[in-house]
């Protein structure tokens, strides 16, 4: 008995230690991967501090690529910090607070939630530096509370992307039918917006019979899709919130011998459309979001007035243009408006 008790106390102690350690890990784990200063030809006018979401998701890796590409183009000096993961709200806040204490002329922020970076933003606002908000918007109330003015917001409209997918689905399957949606982590904002947009855009011929969360995980999406197909063998289509999960769903559809009958449509998934696994997708361009964020800072430093809100392009990908889109990636296949590049040139 005493032996068991001793082991139990060891267990509890271990648990406490583990919790402590995991907190530490999540708080400072990102540092090792994050800092990568620009190779600084110091050609640009501004020093830019960037805080983005976790790089554990390809979306934000592309965003980082865009930021680095823009900096390389102009030779501007910059520091980029990423959250340890796409759920690390407090760690990301610490990172921005650290940068806010340093001497940057302009800050590019992509907050994990609408409010988690408010402290840092308040610090920046107090020093009267430019704040460029990309991807996920800082809540207006929060910005007001921080007494901050967001110079410009650059983002990709998830609702619009979902809607565009719904429109394309109506073209592909004019007779309508039952559809199921496969989202990311339950409660995730991006996933919810894409799905809401899709449902808003659906014509009355379609009925959403089921909504599942598959944690942005391909294996999970495949398992859930297989189960859904058993419950609804006549399903007309799956709407999937990202490309990786869509590949898993496509596999489930193929395994159920429903290819061509149950359509797979998704947000992102150029490669999947090109390979024929996904029937249609709407691509977003995080690379462009990152690039424009940097250009906005440069334009502000050059004394230009910035537009309040800029939507980055979204592109419908069908088997016809998938090849072209693949070649153009990470840029969109067709021309798009870039007001910041115009400002810098003009």
């Amino acid at each position: 008995m005493t032996g068991a008790e001793r082991r139990r106390s060891r267990w509890v102690g271990g648990m406490a230690l583990a919790c402590g350690l995991s907190l530490m890990l999540s708080a400072c784990g990102g540092d090792s991967a994050a800092p990568s200063a620009g190779d600084g030809e110091a050609g640009g006018d501004a020093k830019i501090g960037v805080v983005i979401k976790g790089l554990d998701n390809p979306f934000f890796q592309h965003m980082e690529d865009g930021i680095e590409a823009a900096a390389e183009d102009s030779g501007v000096e910059y520091t980029i910090q990423a959250a340890a993961s796409i759920t690390d709200t407090s760690g990301q806040a610490d990172k921005l607070s650290n940068l806010a204490n340093q001497d940057y002329d302009c800050y590019v922020v992509n907050p994990i939630s609408g409010t988690n970076l408010v402290q840092g933003i308040a610090q920046i606002a107090a020093k009267d530096k430019t704040i460029v908000n990309i991807d996920n918007p800082v809540e207006a109330e929060a910005a007001k509370a921080a007494d901050a003015t967001i110079a410009t917001y650059i983002g990709t409209d998830n609702l619009a992307a979902g809607k565009m997918v719904a429109d394309q689905l109506a073209t592909l399957a004019p007779e309508g039918g039952d559809v199921a949606t496969v989202g990311g982590v339950a409660g995730d904002v991006t996933s919810a917006q894409r799905i809401d947009g899709f449902k808003e855009g659906l014509s009355q011929d379609f009925t959403v019979v089921q909504e599942v969360a598959a944690d942005w995980n391909r294996q999970e999406a495949q398992t859930q899709a297989e189960t859904i197909l058993r419950a609804n063998p006549e399903l007309a289509a799956f709407f999937v919130a990202n490309d990786d999960m869509a590949m898993g769903v496509a596999r489930a559809v193929a395994a159920a011998d429903r290819k061509g009958e149950t359509l797979v449509v998704s947000v992102d998934g150029i490669d999947g459309v090109a390979s024929g696994d996904i029937d249609a997708a709407v691509a977003q361009y995080p690379f462009v979001v990152g690039k424009m964020g940097m250009q906005a800072c440069e334009a502000a430093a050059a004394g230009h007035e910035l537009p309040a809100k800029v939507d980055t392009p979204i592109e419908l990908i069908t088997p016809e243009n998938a090849k072209e889109a693949q070649e153009a990636f990470p840029e969109p296949p067709s021309d798009y408006e870039n007001p910041f590049a115009d400002l810098l040139e003009g």
């Binding site: 995980n217 391909r218 419950a231």
Partner: protein, 321 residues
Amino acid sequence: MTATESVGERVRVTLTRPTFWVEWASVVGLVLLVVLFTALDSTFLSAGNIRGMLLASAILTILVVGQAFVILTAGIDLSVASVMTFAAVMFGLAMTHGYGILLSCLVAFCAGAAVGLLNGVLVAKGRITDFIVTLGALSAASGTALILSDGKPITVISAPLFELSAGSVGVVPYTFMIALLIAVLAHVVLFKTKFGTHVLATGGSVEAAQATGIRTTRIKIAVYAISGSLAGIAAILLVARVGSAEPAANMTFLLNSVAAVVLGGVSLFGGKGSIKGPIFGALLLTALSNGLTLLGVSQFYQPLAVGVVVVGAAFLTRFDK
């Protein structure tokens, strides 16, 4: 007359014996769930769905066997899922470098075994708490997987792998057969060999085991190596299933592997338990998520339901002394 009475009496005695519930909680739970879901939706017990559930449970089953070995020695392996991710990425890299399927499988297996062995040495020889060692390994293995894969999925196209993941005999998929084979082997090793006896003895009491001449250090290293190796095998099935090696965290697998072992009546203090219990625990968790999806239960309610079932089934095992 007397005969039936004595049967009834025997059943009553069996059901009131606390250890019965400890041993059979996962089976009873599974049966209850099956009855419930079948009553609510007749497709639950259709051949197609049974096959689907077995297919979905194969990977978890293999991880659970490894976790059971570790927990039987009063340890815990928090790194199983991450080691699987790491091994999957190694497998993917080996395949893309043209190593061929057999060699790639060997790479995955060795990658898992190596991390497991390292865990075991740190726990047993380094005398660091199992919790901390495997927590560190969790982070290190998933980090390494991210670095090696550059955070991107590695597409693996292979006809034999596809056949492995898609094929079945009747309602029993190949992958589940592999899992079952591993489970049977594990059962035999645990209960019919000297090594198994030593594992149980080490878990029961390290001091007592050492007093009888058992080299508990070696046993501890061995169980972590087993867990790591099985994670390596699970990685192959994971890649076969989704057709790519993903650096995803796979946290659900970790939580479910621990939950299944506890549901299966294995004492967290070590020394007591079985292999079949945790296997039924794994099936129970798979059936639960399958049934909820089949019934169209909202995504927000599913984690709640899983939590209630895990704690509820653990409640049945509370009589364990």
